[in-house]
């Protein structure tokens, strides 16, 4: 049977085999052998190519999201609960600005 002209149906059987490798591939920690195999597959499979690219992009986007800061009131309450009031550091930024 010929699979020569696959419609743009994702051929799950062949692609599924690579699924568990994609995350490590994105981290660059996949073994050289599997890496080669996957890259050969990606050369002929657009879907897997897209999945790898968007997976990598997903991780890089999350790494770029600025970290939420702990509100200074939360910090103060923490020090109080721990009986460390005497050590509450003077915030690097001005005390809470109301409004804004």
């Amino acid at each position: 049977m010929s699979a020569s002209d696959q419609p743009h149906e994702h051929n799950q059987d062949s692609c599924r085999r690579y699924l568990s490798s994609l995350s490590e591939y994105a981290d660059g920690t996949l073994s050289a052998e599997l890496c080669e195999e996957l890259e050969a597959h990606m050369a002929i499979c657009e879907n897997c190519r897209i999945v790898v690219n968007t997976l990598t992009r997903t991780v890089s986007l999350y790494r770029q999201i600025p970290a939420p800061k702990m509100p200074s009131a939360v910090k103060e309450r923490l020090y109080k609960v721990l009986h460390l009031e005497a050590y509450i550091p003077p915030g690097p930024d001005a005390p809470d600005q109301p409004g804004q």
Partner: protein, 200 residues
Amino acid sequence: MPHSSDDDLVARLQAGDQSAYAQLVEENAGKIYRLALRMMGNETDAEDVLQETFLSAFRSIDRFEARSSLSTWLYRIASNAALMRLRRKEPEQVSVDEPLERDDGEMIPRQFFDFCCLPEDDLLREEARAEMMHAVEELPATLRSVFVLRDIEGLSTEETAEALDLSISAVKSRLMRARLRLREQLSAYFSHGPLISEAG
């Protein structure tokens, strides 16, 4: 593996030095709060987890053995506290068991919209960021904890394994599943193109 930079602080902590306690809090409260916030999804619960973490750390500092770093140790206490709370709130979602095998089908990609080349400004605008964090909150807690520590907080695979008391292979497999789910969600979101800026 010993963490020599911690040695001095650990000695002072175990000797009951108040300023050492303050230093431990000062150096770690921010990241513990971030983990708690990502895990719990709201500030009130995050604050509870934060306080619980340090209270519990202070109580058990005598038993700290420097097999991990202080910060990994705190991450571990905090993740346990968060998971415990979540288990109370959503018991069906936070199984203690390895959530593998059962849903192979869930990992199979269905979205093939290539959002890689959208302008970074669009990908990271506020609405998109909110959507991204919402997607993290939707992950099952056992996947969420791995993703948050590994990909958001930037811990190594080994540190994540230590913090969550998981094997390396469990971390890798949960990370993979978390990432594939998030990729799916983001692909769906970006393919609707609600964010293509109108004003250039």
